[in-house]
């Protein structure tokens, strides 16, 4: 009997085709209180991390931006205000519940016209090549089954001169801080998850998936492998989060 190909889902090994389903279940479960949980888990610091990402993206009016794993659209909303009516922002997510939530939120806040929505798998993007000036993925890459496929797709849809930004949890640079962070992730996070979304398991997965995500240098190497140039990364909050940036030249 042929051995089944597996991948990690947190600390568990699951069949490759099952990971997307299980990730979807996680986000279906937390979608309704996703924003609240983000604020509680990060003590609101996720907003500052996203601000850094926006500043590093350096998007201008009239440009086209693709925001992958957009969730409820924190990054996309800011981009939409910058690119203006002559630009375009595409909010994309593989999870229908999250994207619907994000779309409702944007509509409720009156953002229409330059915002489009695409239910899409980051591993196989339904866009022509060399179309976007900037592609971002915020807190989504670690949930993608084949990260290298997603990075290659980001490269493909970028126009020459465009830039890709990956905002993602990463690995703390200090060992002492790392221990405190582990304590928080594996003890406090699941309790918060149980209290707010009545789902401790999803938040245990969150903590585990962060540990299984490639570290800063590995992810930079992956970007270079996909063809990105001038790749660099910026550690935020002691490496809890890193922003990787690469250019298609």
């Amino acid at each position: 009997m042929a051995e089944q190909e597996t991948t990690h889902f947190g600390y568990q090994q699951v069949p490759v085709e099952e990971k997307a389903v299980r990730v979807r279940e996680v986000f279906d479960s937390v979608a309704s209180r996703y924003d609240l949980m983000n604020d509680l888990m990060s003590l609101g610091i996720h907003r500052l991390w996203k601000r850094h990402a926006i500043a590093l993206a350096g998007v201008r009016r009239g440009q086209r931006v693709l925001d992958l794993a957009s969730g409820t659209g924190d990054l996309a909303a800011r981009f939409a205000g910058i690119v203006g009516p002559t630009g375009q922002v595409v909010m994309s997510d593989i999870n229908e519940a999250m994207l619907s939530r994000g779309r409702e939120r944007q509509l409720d806040q009156g953002r229409v016209g330059n915002l489009n929505y695409a239910l899409a798998n980051a591993e196989r993007l339904p866009f022509v090549g060399e179309h976007f000036d900037c592609v971002t993925i915020g807190f989504g890459l670690r949930n993608v089954t084949h990260k290298e496929w997603a990075i290659a797709e980001m490269y493909r849809v970028l126009r020459p001169g465009g830039r890709a930004l990956i905002l993602e949890f990463s690995h703390p640079t200090s060992k002492a801080f790392s221990r405190v962070y582990d304590l928080y992730s594996f003890n406090v996070l699941p309790i918060l998850g149980r209290l707010v979304t009545n789902d401790a398991e999803s938040y245990r997965y969150l903590a585990e998936s962060i540990r299984m995500h490639p570290d800063q240098e590995s992810l930079r190497t992956m970007m270079e492998g996909a063809g990105f140039e001038r790749c660099t990364y910026f550690n935020l909050t002691g490496g809890v989060v890193a922003i990787h940036r690469g250019y298609k030249l």
């Binding site: 350096g58 201008r60 009016r61 939409a80 690119v83 550690n235 002691g238």
Partner: protein, 226 residues
Amino acid sequence: MSDDETPDQGRDPAAGFAIPAGLLATIEAALNQYIALDPEGARAFAPTYGHIICIDIEGLGARLTLIPGPDRVQVFGAYDATPDCLIRGAPLALLRMMTAGRKQSQLSSGAVRIEGDAAVAQALSDALAGLDVDWEEQLARVLGDPIANQIGRAVRAAGDWGGRTRETARANLKEYLEEESRLLPTRYEVDEFLRQVDTLRDDVERLAARIARLAAHADAERGSLR
């Protein structure tokens, strides 16, 4: 290569310190809340939408980047794109330009310098200076019209009383210094003194001209005798 904590995109190494992200977020929230208090005035920001406006605060060595949009003005430190316009100046000069109706004095004195699209800088400062918040209306939303109206009247009455008191105190002090203690001259004495100074200056100028004319005349006569 990595940078810890501080993305240094597009920042001039000589630009000095980077404003902490938390403070930038607070500035952004406060600015947008203030703008939201005057929905009519907020429309004046429309010509600046999507423009990247950099403000270099000299002395502090800090840089702010504003990107106005229809739903909010986004505030960053360094922003990794070439700005549409760059406004440089000392903190007080910038504040005066942003809030005063007349910007010309700040610009012509060189206290504030603008590089790039000056029309965008002008539109931004006009929009900021043009914000006129109706505090009574804002109070009415929280407390209701009757109470807000009463508070408004009380504040206006207090303002009037303050103005009258200030004017009376000024008049009393003036009278004491000029008439009772004679420490300062009255306005009429000053006017008379200035008039006499003017007369004296004119007399001196006339005398100088006369002396110069006589000297020239004497030189000419000496020349003819030789």
